[in-house]
Amino acid sequence: MNLNRRHFMILLPAAAVAWESVLAGTPETAPNYKVSDHWWGMLIDISKCIGCGNCVRACQTENDVPDGFFRTWVERYHVTDTNLERPEVISPDGGKEGFPTAQEDAGKYFFVPKLCNHCADSPCTQVCPVGATFVSPDGVVLIDQTYCLGCAYCVQACPYGCRYIHPEKHAAEKCTLCYHRITKGLTTACCENCPTGARQLADLKNPNDPIHAFLKTHAVQVLKPQMATTPKVFYNQLDGSVR
């Protein structure tokens, strides 16, 4: 090959650009998945939840969640006319094995499945000192565990108590909204295994997603709206006593 100085100088910037893209690697392993085409959330219908704990068990299996830690869990509320402000809430082992029988007596009982709300303005990502946790371009709050120091600022900052420090990895962990599944066209493990369809993954950027029709026709709420975190987990028929 006959390469003179002029041609070499012309090729140099092109080679630099090519080398840069080689170093950058391919951040998205799933073909045909474009992060800018999605904005993920979830719809939870309280009126359908039976408290069976399938979601909790499925999440633990799918994501290798250690015992005693939860990325999703189910709470059972018991509200009587005298304790509207301080309802009795139980969640034995996160509701993994179901709940004790609730007796028909004064007041009402209902289940509230909880998970990371994947807030658009998430307080947990703002406090990270090293850029280890972030809201992805498709609206999922994720953790880069190789960057995480385990300082637990984010665990304190989450108003919903959705994060924990993994006891062996010493890094923060949380619900990834099954990012490894939703980027391949599957739904999350909890939605997949919910027997009553109480949990549904929602893509708010997809105009054909059934969530849009649902949000128009139902009284849907989010948890702790006063925190202004813009949660993307929407609850249908949420009781006012839920904290």
Partner: protein, 188 residues
């Protein structure tokens, strides 16, 4: 004009400053991952790392590709919308990994600075390895989790008090779990 007299030491100082700045910029460029800042103040390649986690629950279509007979029966019954793996467990199961070698003194020292995560455990599909069996559920536990009567469950959801309903007879004596309605019509 004596302004630029005896300024040699200043040039040395500036040169040192320039070299130091270049060294710091060079180090930063070398140590910062190349995808940092791709989407924001984080490593863009982390999205791919997280998406590479192995899938365990493959969904009912995967089961139905072999178990068409069960799928047909289930499709007609009340449990048509319940995922197979909701009762039988994940179709991919974790393969027990061989015990990892104990880290040496040097690795321990390095691990204080470089945060390396243990790799995700490998998974194998039930269809690929006959030794991996989905769970045969214990109906006394499994049926009750959903169908045990409780004031907390929605009123429209079918619930029974097991002792009163069957007197301890196992559920599958009367109900076929894949299509639980009893054909004779004497059950609710």
């Amino acid at each position: 004009m004596n302004l630029f007299k005896d300024v040699g030491h200043l040039f040395r100082f500036v040169a040192l400053f320039v070299v130091g700045t270049l060294a710091i910029l060079g180090l930063r460029a070398a140590l910062t991952p190349h995808s940092f800042g791709q989407y924001g103040h984080y490593r863009g390649a982390a999205l791919g790392d997280i998406a590479a986690h192995p899938i365990k629950f493959a969904g009912h279509q995967t089961c139905e590709s072999c178990h068409a007979d069960v799928a047909e029966m289930k499709g007609k019954g009340k449990h048509a919308h319940v995922n197979c793996e909701a009762c039988h467990g994940a179709i991919y199961q974790t393969v027990p990994a061989p015990a990892a070698a104990q880290p040496g003194a040097f690795e321990k020292l390095i691990s204080l600075v470089i945060h390396k995560m243990p790799p995700d455990p490998a998974v194998t599909l039930h269809a690929d390895d006959p030794s991996i069996k989905p769970v045969l559920p214990d109906t006394a536990v499994l049926c009750a989790r959903c169908h045990a009567a409780s004031a907390a469950k929605p009123k429209s959801f079918p619930q029974v008090d097991a002792a009163e309903h069957s007197g301890g007879v196992p559920c599958e004596t009367c109900h076929q779990p894949h299509s639980p309605a009893i054909a004779s019509g004497d059950a609710k």
